[in-house]
């Protein structure tokens, strides 16, 4: 049997496979989670992923992601970088990210702390606030059984609230943190940066970026039809820039990406492309500083 490269697509997913006699690889793009940002396209070392804008005359106007079966080498960099967890790599049916396993690429740090002790029974503000619907709130009794209808439960004292979040798919927009009335959620962004929209360049009546943004609170249309940016919740994915019809109307810069420590040329290159040469060198320098500090400490100890 010769090696086979396969591509299959449904409304919900795009899957590419490399089937060899003794090993099988698959990379699945979950279209429901993918927001068609630019991150995986930027970091793919083989330029196997591309954001394809719809051709003229096509029904849809929104861009889509295309993965080249011939080029992909199943390294897992796209899987590691996607803040929305839309890409999943499997080798012989098992979820693995080789570049992470071999420490050639970092994992994003999604710092989210939820103190559900503070949560009163009945509050579901965070569930409603989460734009990606990743939070589930449950009420349980002291034996851990879920209580469907808390009002009918005889002893309210024995009830407790648990909050669960699908961390894998969370880009950490911090909306839940700000909406929480009880200060129960503390987060730190994964990607820091700046975003600015030059509304003078915006075409009349255009709201492409507003529609493309996965976090509704970030980009909004004001009464006079101009785009207003709320930097606070932005995850700097760049989905807005992908759809923007005018070059330069949206300026987006990433400055810091929080990730697990790694010493890898592939990451430095990806980082430079995601942020800027300046920010990459900044990280390298800080890493060097840490190294020096560690060695000094070692010596003193």
């Amino acid at each position: 049997m010769p090696m086979k490269l396969k591509r299959s697509e449904t409304d919900e997913q795009l899957k590419i496979e490399r089937i060899m006699y003794a090993r099988q690889y698959s990379l699945t793009l979950d279209k429901r989670r993918c927001v068609v940002c630019e991150l995986c396209e930027i970091v793919c070392p083989r330029e196997a992923i591309q954001v394809v804008k719809p051709a003229e005359g096509e029904e849809t106007t929104s861009p889509r992601l295309e993965i080249d079966v011939e080029l992909c080498q199943y390294c897992g960099i796209c899987n590691a970088i996607c803040p929305f967890g839309a890409l999943e790599l499997k080798i012989d049916g098992e979820k693995v990210v080789p570049v992470v396993k071999f420490e050639s690429f970092p994992q994003l740090i999604r710092e989210i702390e939820i103190d559900d002790e503070k949560c009163p029974v009945g509050c579901t503000v965070c569930v409603d606030a989460c734009p990606l619907k990743l939070i589930t709130v449950k009420v349980v009794d002291d034996e851990g059984r879920e209580v469907e209808d808390a009002e009918l439960y005889p002893d309210e004292e024995r009830l407790r609230v648990t909050v669960e979040l699908d961390k894998e798919y969370c880009p950490v927009c911090r909306v839940c943190e700000y909406k929480c009335p009880y200060d129960a959620i503390h987060t730190q962004k994964v990607i820091y940066g700046h975003i600015r929209v030059d509304t003078d360049l915006c075409p009349e009546g255009c709201r492409e970026c507003v529609d493309a943004c996965p976090i509704p609170e970030v980009l909004q249309l004001s009464e006079d039809g101009k785009v207003v940016v709320n930097d606070l919740f932005c995850v700097y994915c760049g989905a807005c820039r992908v759809v923007c019809p005018v070059e330069g109307a949206i300026s987006l810069e990433r400055t810091v990406i929080r990730h697990t420590p790694v010493h890898s040329g592939a990451w430095n290159k990806a980082l430079e492309k995601l942020t800027s040469t300046k920010d990459m060198t900044k990280e390298l320098r800080s890493r060097a500083v840490i190294k020096v500090k560690e060695s000094v400490e070692r010596r003193l100890a």
């Binding site: 049997m1 010769p2 006699y21 390294c75 396993k101 050639s104 040329g265 592939a266």
Partner: protein
């Protein structure tokens, strides 16, 4: 001696019945006696045999002969033999001429013996005419570089390199891939002994790598080869491994930290390798290679390598130049991989695999750890069909028999039985079982005794059961005489062996020809099976045709011995058929000419302003293009002078010129193609009168004009195929340019365009040659003598005028 009156002896050969069975040799001999300057003519049974050669030597002595003509077979076969023979009798070897009456007459005109005899007489007449004008020549002696180049590090190349190295010659072993070893290193066991393949080849690989006289240049491409026997200049590009060979210890720590996996071609893409890796554990040289197409540059390997500092991402391709005296080509073969779904469902059904894939499956170090399992479900098959002749012996694919597939299929059958015994049913579907050579038939018997079922018949189709993924093999069982169906769980295809990818480029770089099957052509199928037409270049192993391991090894050793015949000498004699300039006639003295310098394919001519052109003799390959191009007829090609060729033309067209086709055939392709038509006994009409030139580039416009002036019915100039086949790089191109202009002029003068033909025939195209002459003869008849003679009458005065200056010669 040229001043002396020629005394020519003609020796007509019977070649048993090969010539005498068709041609009346007696008549030819008697006719030869009537030719001017012929003082002695005799016929004998085998002129090339000892008594035959004796007769020549005796004739030279007794009749004081100073020219010898042998009318026998092709000069491509026995010219060297007879040259040696006349030299032994004290005659200059270049005072010998051959008349090819076997390949060009008796073998290709068996059903018209009278015409064949007539043609033979004229061929002898042409040879005598040329012989009359022959001059003694002294062979050029060139120094020999006592080093050899072996191209390809498979089992044939390894043995060739080892033998030469043992004889004391320096050998460069150039290998395209990362490791030497070739196909043999991919195999599990070898037939008929069932030795482990890498266990017997591995030590040889190590031997060759350790030998002080051998330098392995692996992961390298051949760029160009210039020069000639004894003095080749070879350019090789070493591709960057991004690992410093001297620093790499082969520990593999870099590999262990590499995150990138890609399909291992060496494993038939069944398993994977890392972006920094070796293709297989026993690789020689044991140096890791980074595949930059796949590397993501995480530099984890650099960390792992640490203080050894073997990894260098800044490496660039490096070009090196080698000087060698002989070259052995051992570039091997490729295995045919059926196109997707084309043959027996390969590619469409997952449980259909090729023989080489099976080797990787059953090999303990293979991607499945030596377990034969199905791709569809990972289960061990309980019944296996081995189908033979997939692609081979198939007129729609590859016509030839790939030779070793019968034996490796038997080996697979026996291996399956040995591994799984009664748990597996093995069926072999074959057309003929070819188990010649030592121990092979016994191996076949062993397979039968082990309970393998042999079914004779060509498989028509393989169909997959979509549920079980089992396969149904449909075949007409010749023993039963009816179609049957066999359901099996795995199908293994014994696919054809193909010329290796890139052999076209190698053939172009080395100027060696390939047969119709694409494999390199030997100089003579029987007597020179290892030589190529180019002196100093030899063939070994499967690059010349599919071969099994013992045959490849013998050829490797044979090629080493052949190369040593050159390398063991300090100097080597090369043919003095070079170009010579007559400074008194060279135009470059008075005007700015330099045409010869511009047209020389080898840049062997210098034409400084105001001085006559000079030929650098050692660089001249003797194509004669310059002689044909020179507007002042100032250049002469030795042994193929204008005067000699004119004499041949006149002798050919002495009688009934309108009925004849005068053909100029280049030695390496067209003449060889015509020889092949003869040896293959393809019959064509006896209208052709052939003149051999070394290269079609030698064919002067004046030769064609003279032929038509004398009333030739047709003129053919036959050359090697464009664009790259020419033995002299571009002689055929020069001829084409020249003849296109000439053809236009002749047509304008009233010549029917069909009467002048330029065609391209390779050494493998015997059929094409026969068809061409048949077709031309039909046209000749169609035109009719009347019309040809009328045209000739009109043309003659014009051509007479054009050729008046030639009268001097």
């Amino acid at each position: 001696m040229s001043e002396e009156e020629p005394r020519i002896g003609v020796f007509v050969c019977h070649c048993g019945l090969n010539i005498a069975g068709v041609i009346d040799v007696e008549e030819v001999t008697n006719y030869a006696k009537t030719l001017p300057n012929v003082v002695y003519a005799v016929h004998n049974r085998y002129t090339c045999s000892d008594p035959g050669q004796d007769e020549i030597r005796k004739g030279i002595k007794e009749y004081n002969l100073n020219r010898v003509v042998v009318a026998a077979c092709s000069p491509r076969l026995h010219e060297p033999t007879f040259r040696r023979c006349v030299a032994e009798a004290g005659l200059n070897p270049y005072l010998f001429e051959m008349a090819n009456i076997r390949e060009f007459s008796s073998w290709c005109h068996p059903s018209t013996p009278e015409e064949a005899t007539e043609k033979a007489k004229e061929i002898v007449r042409m040879a005598v005419a040329k012989a009359r004008l022959l001059n003694p020549l002294k062979p050029l002696e060139v120094p020999v570089t006592q080093k050899a180049l072996v191209l390809g590090g498979g089992i044939a190349g390894i043995n060739a390199a080892l033998d030469l190295a043992e004889m004391g010659f320096k050998v460069y072993l150039v290998e395209k891939k990362e490791s030497i070893g070739g196909h043999m290193a991919q195999l599990d066991k070898t037939f008929p002994t069932l030795d482990c393949s890498i266990c017997i080849e591995g030590p040889r690989m190590v031997d060759v790598a350790r030998h002080p006289n051998v330098e392995i240049i692996s992961y390298a491409d051949l760029l160009s080869v210039e020069g000639y026997v004894g003095n080749f200049k070879v350019k090789v590009r070493k591709n960057p491994r991004y690992v410093i060979a001297d620093n790499c210890t082969g520990c593999g720590e870099c590999r262990d930290v590499c995150p990138i996996e890609f399909p291992n071609e060496w494993d038939m893409n069944m398993g994977v390798r890392r972006a920094i890796d070796i293709p297989f554990a026993q690789a020689v040289p044991l140096i890791y290679t980074i595949n930059r197409d796949h590397c993501i540059e995480c530099y984890k390997c650099v960390d792992a390598c640490g203080a050894r500092q073997a990894i260098d991402f800044s490496q660039e391709p490096e070009e090196i130049e080698l000087e060698v005296g002989a070259i052995i080509v051992a570039t091997g073969y490729d295995i045919y991989v059926p196109e997707e779904g084309n043959l027996y469902g390969y590619g469409r059904y997952s449980n259909v695999i090729t023989g080489l894939e099976f080797e990787r499956l059953i090999l303990a170090a293979g991607p499945t750890g030596g377990h034969v399992v199905r791709a569809s479900d990972g289960r061990r098959p309980r019944s296996v069909a081995l189908i033979q002749c997939v692609g081979s012996r198939d007129v729609n694919k590859y016509e030839y028999c790939s030779g070793f597939c019968c034996m490796y299929t038997l080996k697979h059958a026996i291996q399956l039985k040995e591994h799984y015994g009664r748990e597996v049913e093995v069926y072999v579907f074959y057309m003929d079982m070819r188990s010649n050579f030592k121990g092979y038939e016994e191996f076949y018997r062993r397979a039968r005794e082990m309970g393998v079922t042999f079914i004779r018949g060509r498989v028509s189709r393989v169909i997959e059961d979509p549920k079980t993924k089992n396969l149904i093999v449909r075949v007409e069982d010749i023993a039963l005489g009816e179609p049957i169906e066999v359901e099996v769980e795995l199908v293994v295809l014994a696919t054809a062996a193909l010329p290796s990818k890139g052999s076209d480029e190698i053939s172009r770089i080395l100027n060696i020809s390939r047969g119709a099957d694409g494999f390199f052509m030997e100089s003579h199928p029987k007597l020179k099976p290892i030589d190529t037409p180019v002196d100093g270049i030899f063939l070994a192993g499967a690059c010349q045709g599919p071969k099994d391991i013992p045959y490849s090894v013998s050829q490797g050793c044979g090629a080493a011995a052949r190369a040593a015949t050159i390398l063991s000498k300090k100097t080597w004699k090369i043919e003095p058929i070079v170009a010579v300039v007559d400074p008194s006639r060279c135009r470059n003295v008075k005007a700015k000419c330099g045409i010869c310098a511009a047209k020389c394919p080898y840049g062997a001519i210098r034409a400084p302003q105001g001085q006559p052109a000079q030929v650098i003799t050692a660089m001249c390959h003797g194509c004669g293009t310059c002689a044909a191009e020179c507007p002042a007829d100032a250049i002469t090609q030795m042994h193929f002078t204008d005067a000699q060729i004119f004499a041949q033309i006149r002798a050919a067209l002495q009688e009934n010129p309108e009925d004849k086709i005068l053909g100029f055939l280049c030695n390496w392709c067209s003449y060889a193609g015509a020889d092949l038509a003869g040896t293959s006994r393809f019959e064509y009409p006896p209208t052709l009168r052939p003149i051999r030139v070394m290269c079609s580039g030698r064919v002067d416009r004046d030769f064609v004009l003279e032929a038509f002036r004398l009333g030739a019915g047709m003129v053919l100039v036959a050359a090697c195929h464009l664009p790259y086949d020419c033995h002299y790089i571009s002689g055929n191109w020069r001829m084409k340019e020249r003849m296109e202009v000439l053809a236009r002029m002749l047509t304008k003068l009233g010549l029917s365009p069909e009467r002048f033909r330029v065609d391209y025939i390779s050494a493998a195209e015997g059929v094409k040659f026969a068809e061409l002459i048949t077709e031309m003869t039909e046209k000749l008849k169609e035109l009719g003598r009347e019309r040809i003679m009328a045209e000739n009458q009109k043309l003659k005065p014009v051509l007479d005028r054009m050729l008046s200056r030639k009268k001097r010669t």
